[in-house]
């Protein structure tokens, strides 16, 4: 269970998050909606420990662990995974080496032996199938020369490899065509277990059609101003955000 209490965060001295309160129980999928600049990506980056953001106040507790004092890799080992809005290109580092390092570090954290080369490659093959990722891509440098859709598929592939318990999908649907969106979303659903929870950031209903979130939050000006069931997303899809602003007196 993730519990966020009165979280304030800023970047370059500018406050973006102004007191976030949010609880996500195991197995739940929450969607976070809001206009550009509302602080959605800031919240996800703060949760996974992006060094550019400074937390000025508040708490984030995940399964009893104080996330905010942990290094990014420790948060990853604790089960947090973020699908980046813009996945980073790392020239010269092959996907295989990258994933092998990540998988084995996680195993080390769990006190398991590193995977043998053949076992690892077998695992890669299995997980690649989930998002229909071309085997050629696995031999390239991380995200280098990948199309927009391939990068997003690659994110979900990495999620499959690392089996997180809490996934953050930061605009994973942006820039995807209908087929790619289906592959990514179905891939994600296949990976879900009754324990997996997720925070999904999106502007669009079509991703939510696949992911079927339990709870919808609307973020405006660094605060969650409205929370509701799945029907809230439909209403936003139809009417936009202005009515929520008006309701909140903004």
């Amino acid at each position: 269970m993730l519990e966020i209490k009165d979280l304030h965060a800023s970047i370059n001295g500018k406050e973006i998050l102004k007191g976030i309160n949010l609880t996500i129980k195991d197995g739940e999928v929450h969607a976070l909606m809001g206009q550009n600049g509302a602080g959605k990506s800031t919240l996800s980056n703060v949760l996974v420990g992006h060094p550019a953001y400074e937390v000025t106040q508040g708490q984030a507790i995940y399964n009893g662990q104080d996330l905010l004092t942990m290094k990014p890799e420790e948060r990853s080992h604790a089960g947090l995974f973020m699908s980046f809005q813009t996945p980073i290109e790392i020239p010269g580092v092959s996907m295989v080496n990258f994933m092998r390092a990540a998988v084995n570090e996680k195993r080390k954290y769990r006190g398991e032996e590193p995977l043998s080369a053949s076992a690892f490659l077998k695992l890669m093959r299995e997980k690649r199938a989930i998002v229909e990722l071309d085997s050629k891509l696995a031999n390239r440098s991380v995200n280098e020369g990948f199309s927009g859709g391939e990068k997003k598929r690659n994110e979900i592939f990495q999620m499959a490899m690392l089996e997180p318990t809490f996934a953050i999908l930061d605009e994973t649907d942006s820039g995807l065509d209908v087929d790619a969106l289906r592959i990514v979303a179905e891939g994600f659903n296949k990976l879900r277990t009754p324990q997996t929870s997720a925070l999904v950031i999106t502007h669009y209903q079509r991703l939510l059609d696949y992911l079927k979130p339990d709870i919808i939050h609307v973020l405006i000006g660094g605060q969650i101003v409205k929370t509701g069931g799945p029907e809230l997303a439909l209403e936003i899809d139809e009417k936009g955000f202005d009515w929520i602003k008006a309701e909140a007196g903004l």
């Binding site: 990853s76 080992h77 990258f98 390092a101 990540a102």
Partner: protein, 449 residues
């Protein structure tokens, strides 16, 4: 002259011992000593005011008192004992040069193709004086005082000759072993001649067997005949007490293809100079280098690629990773002479400074006198990509491991250019070990233990 101290010991040495030096060498090599001595006396060691020596203090490097083995006394050595870093999956013809003496006691058993000569430069110049004298000293410019000093003191080294149309399938691996019980200066001389359409690959590995101060000058002259193909890989894995001055001179005839990759993994003070002359149309030079330094190591690569005729190509890539208080310097000049139209040339130097005290001096230069050319260069000094680091850490990779992966990736570009897969793999592994700080535990070199 202000640096008289540094020069004086070498002038005195030559004046008092020129007979002994000559006695233990060959006529061909002796023929050039007097002129080189004259030039050395005239020019002295270059100070840092001399543009090409801006970044390395030559007089200081030559100041200490080193022993020289001019009488060619036998220095006991068991190369197999010293050298364990062989390359798996690569069958090479293995040769040793101990200090500056070709080691005749451990030669490969496999025969070489007809006409191919690999062996002692001194002996070759006695057996084939006409062949050697046709090339010896023809490229090496004694106006450079390090070359002058080498020419006046060198007594032996390596000679490689590949006749017309002969292809050497196996890589020649030449292990330069520094071995002495006192501080030692060596002057090694290498001459490589490939006739028309000949092909060869040579891998030089520098190792230090003793924890002594070593000073080495090395002059390599390379003649690549028409349509020939030559790879030269130089791998330095010595120790902090080693000072290396290497001057490489290459002349390439039409449609020849030369690849030079200079990798400095572990060293003290290293100054590598390389002059590539594209003398025949359609010639190609690929000049690569990679250096990983820490503590107070010093690496200075200085290259000139001279496009003397039209339609030649050059590309160059040098990568440095500098840690601790180490100092890196790179100066690369692409010179395109007046009639060298249709030249295509590209030069890149990228550097990572990993510590606060590391310093980098970089100087990519273009000097162009022909208009129909495509030339470019780029140079960067910076750090690892912070976003890439974060991305990797989000996937659970520790910061140290992420840094190492990125540094490896950074260097791999210069290693990927190697045209020999087993060697490429071996170097990837060595670079990785170097970043893990395990290289000095390989047991190969006594100095590292």
């Amino acid at each position: 002259m202000e640096n008289l101290n540094s020069e004086k010991q070498y002038i005195d040495l030559y004046q008092s011992c020129s007979d002994i030096i000559a006695e233990h060498s060959s006529e061909v090599m002796n023929a050039l000593r007097a002129e080189a001595f004259e030039k050395f006396c005239k020019n002295g060691f270059p100070t840092q005011k001399v543009e090409r020596y801006k970044y390395t203090d030559v007089p200081e490097a030559f100041k200490p008192d080193y022993g020289l083995n001019i009488k060619r006394l036998n220095i006991p050595v068991n190369p197999a004992d010293v050298f364990k870093c062989d390359v798996p999956n690569m069958s090479t013809l293995l040769y040793f040069v101990v200090n500056d003496e070709f080691y005749t006691k451990a030669m490969p058993k496999t025969g070489l193709p007809d006409g191919v000569i690999v062996g002692s430069l001194r002996e070759a110049s006695k057996l084939h004086p006409e062949l050697v004298s046709k090339y010896y000293g023809k490229l090496a410019d004694t106006n450079d005082s390090v070359t002058a000093l080498n020419t006046m003191l060198a007594q032996d080294g390596l000679f490689v000759y590949v006749p017309k149309n002969v292809v050497l399938d196996k890589t020649l691996q030449v292990v330069n072993i520094l071995r002495a019980d006192v501080d030692l200066m060596s002057n090694r001389r290498v001459l490589i001649v490939l006739e028309e359409s000949a092909q060869a690959r040579i891998l030089f590995c520098d190792h230090a067997a003793d924890d002594r101060n070593f000073l080495t000058t090395q002059v390599i002259e390379v003649f690549a005949g028409e349509n020939s193909s030559l790879d030269i890989y130089e791998l330095e894995e010595t120790h902090e007490k080693n000072t290396r001055f290497s001057n490489l001179y290459v002349s390439q005839q039409a449609y020849s293809n030369v690849l030079h990759d200079s990798i400095t993994l572990y060293n003290g003070t290293t100054r590598n100079m390389a002059d590539f002359n594209l003398d025949g149309q359609g010639a190609e030079i690929h000049s690569y280098g990679c250096a990983i330094t820490d503590s107070s190591e010093h690496i200075d690569n200085n290259t000139v690629i001279s496009h003397n005729v039209p339609n030649c190509q050059s590309d160059q890539l040098y990568k440095y990773v500098l840690d601790d208080k180490s100092v890196g310097a790179f100066a690369g000049l692409i010179l395109v002479k007046k009639d060298a139209q249709k030249t295509v040339s590209q030069e890149t130097n990228s550097n990572l400074c990993v510590s606060k005290e590391a310093r980098m001096y970089t100087q990519p230069m273009l000097e162009i006198y022909a208009d129909d050319v495509k030339c470019s260069h780029g140079s960067t000094v910076g750090q690892l990509d912070e976003m890439a680091l974060f991305y990797m850490r989000q996937r659970g990779i520790s910061e140290a491991e992420a840094r190492r992966l990125l540094q490896n990736a950074f260097c791999s570009q210069a290693i990927e250019q190697i045209r020999l897969e087993p060697l490429r793999d071996r170097l990837h592994m060595l670079v990785d070990k170097r970043f893990r700080g395990e290289l000095n535990k390989c047991g190969g070199c006594k100095g590292c233990k």
